[in-house]
């Protein structure tokens, strides 16, 4: 079996665009709104979810023939909760400031519907390698949207990127003002909506008929 057969490539890449968990399946929008006021936490959050999702998918996939059917959701939750706790501890040890900014949202990865969705829909029925790719794909699909939203919100809201000033002082001298609204949650929703608009107009097959 080729490690990256066509089917596996599809598993890895389709969540990045045509099957994106956030802008097509509308999962995980809550945390996408909450942590994206700056670019750095968006990146860390995207990576954290990717790591948790990949490993949870692999573990559940390895266990899939042993898990008692009646407690399978509980088993999934325990695995996810354990991984999230580990990620949270690692962030506390090596990325303390980012961890403070993300605060409760690291813990809330447990409730991210993308995770349970992928475990139920994919890992329970597929082998570990495919599940790993599926987890990476969906995690990155989620992370990409977070990074795009975080990029625009930090750029227009604070005039910085990753904390470095990018809007030149000359602009401010000419009367340019940072848009404080970009920092607030409603603008995250609007930026996500704008991404969906652009995405759908480029992928006509995703348009719903009405």
């Amino acid at each position: 079996m080729a490690l990256l057969s066509n089917k596996n490539k599809e598993v890895l890449t389709s969540p990045l665009s045509r099957n994106n968990p956030v802008i097509v399946q509308m999962l995980g929008v809550c945390s996408a709104l909450a942590v994206t006021s700056k670019l750095e936490p968006s990146i860390v959050m995207g990576l954290s979810v990717t790591a948790v999702m990949a490993f949870a998918n692999v573990i559940i996939s390895l266990l899939r023939n042993t898990i008692p059917n009646r407690i399978r959701i509980i088993v999934q939750l325990v695995v996810v909760a354990a991984l999230v706790t580990i990620v949270s501890e690692v962030l506390k040890a090596f990325a303390y400031d980012v961890n403070k900014q993300l605060s409760v949202f690291v813990g809330l990865i447990i409730t991210n519907c993308i995770l349970m969705g992928r475990l139920e829909a994919f890992a329970l029925g597929n082998g570990p390698w495919e599940s790993f790719l599926d987890g990476i794909g969906n995690g990155l699909g989620y992370g990409i949207i977070l990074v795009i939203v975080g990029f625009f919100r930090e750029l227009f809201g604070s005039g910085t990127l990753l904390g470095i000033q990018v809007v030149p002082q000359a602009f401010y001298d000419l009367g340019y003002v940072n848009n404080g609204l970009m920092i607030l949650p409603p603008m995250a929703l609007i930026v996500v909506a704008a991404i969906i608009w652009v995405h759908r107009s480029r992928n006509k097959e995703l348009l719903e008929e009405n």
Binding site: P68, R70, I74, A93
Partner: protein, 227 residues
């Protein structure tokens, strides 16, 4: 093996929980020293911010050791007692009537830094307040919180909230009055005051109470002239 039998389910769940517990305990133990260091540096940064020194986390320890000349606990009578002021958790030490004091030397002048602890709207508040060597005039202040509302109560961590504390006086006519945090536009009779946060009323009141209650314990130390 029947995967739907009760015995299998119970054993499966028990083994899983035990395994997870072991893994988590191991992770927590092995990362503990790194986390402790981060927390300590965070605390040093907070203490330094109260004397207007803003440093990155990795430089905090060196800067702290350079500026903070002395750290000790004082008791309810204002006398120095043995103890590690830096490691002291204000919640516990206040309950035992022990109050951490950090003595800093800024450009040749002595500043006294005191710990604050109180409650906000959603959780604990804490901070540090520094005084000039008259032990009355505020030199600087820094506030932190566990979970106040972003954009409202959480604004107490900003400089625009803490900066106006500088120059305010704790004592009026040798009587302890504390510093009031009032609604913007209002004033407080007979004591110095600063503006609270619009929309963060309960957090602002929490800061007001925190300063009053925390510093009350320091009064004997502040009014005593002996070192």
């Amino acid at each position: 093996m029947n995967r739907d039998s009760n015995v299998y389910t119970i054993i499966y769940a028990s083994v899983m929980v035990l395994l997870v517990a072991v893994v988590l305990a191991f992770t927590s133990q092995s990362l503990r020293s790194f986390q402790k260091q981060n927390e300590d540096n965070d605390k040093r940064q907070q203490i330094l911010r109260s004397i207007h020194v803003d440093v990155k986390a990795d430089a905090a320890e060196a800067q702290y050791n350079e500026l903070i000349k002395e750290a000790f606990l004082v008791n309810a009578q204002g006398q120095k007692v043995e103890g590690d002021a830096f490691a002291a958790d204000p919640v516990k030490s206040f309950a035992e009537n022990l109050y951490p004091v950090f003595v800093a030397n800024v450009d040749g002048q002595t500043k006294y830094i005191m710990a604050l602890y109180g409650a906000g709207l959603w959780g604990p508040l804490w901070g540090y307040l520094s005084l000039d060597d008259d032990r009355n005039t505020v030199y600087g202040a820094d506030f932190s919180h566990a979970g106040e509302t972003p954009g409202l109560g959480a604004e107490i961590t900003t400089k625009s909230f803490s900066a106006p504390f500088a120059g305010k006086k704790l004592f009026m006519n040798n009587e302890y009055k504390s510093i009031a945090v009032v609604k913007p536009g209002k004033s407080a009779a007979g004591q110095d005051y600063v503006d609270g946060i619009s929309g963060g009323t309960i957090t602002s009141q929490g800061v007001d109470q925190m300063i009053y209650n925390s510093l009350k314990g320091y009064v004997p130390f502040l009014t005593s002239n002996n070192q």
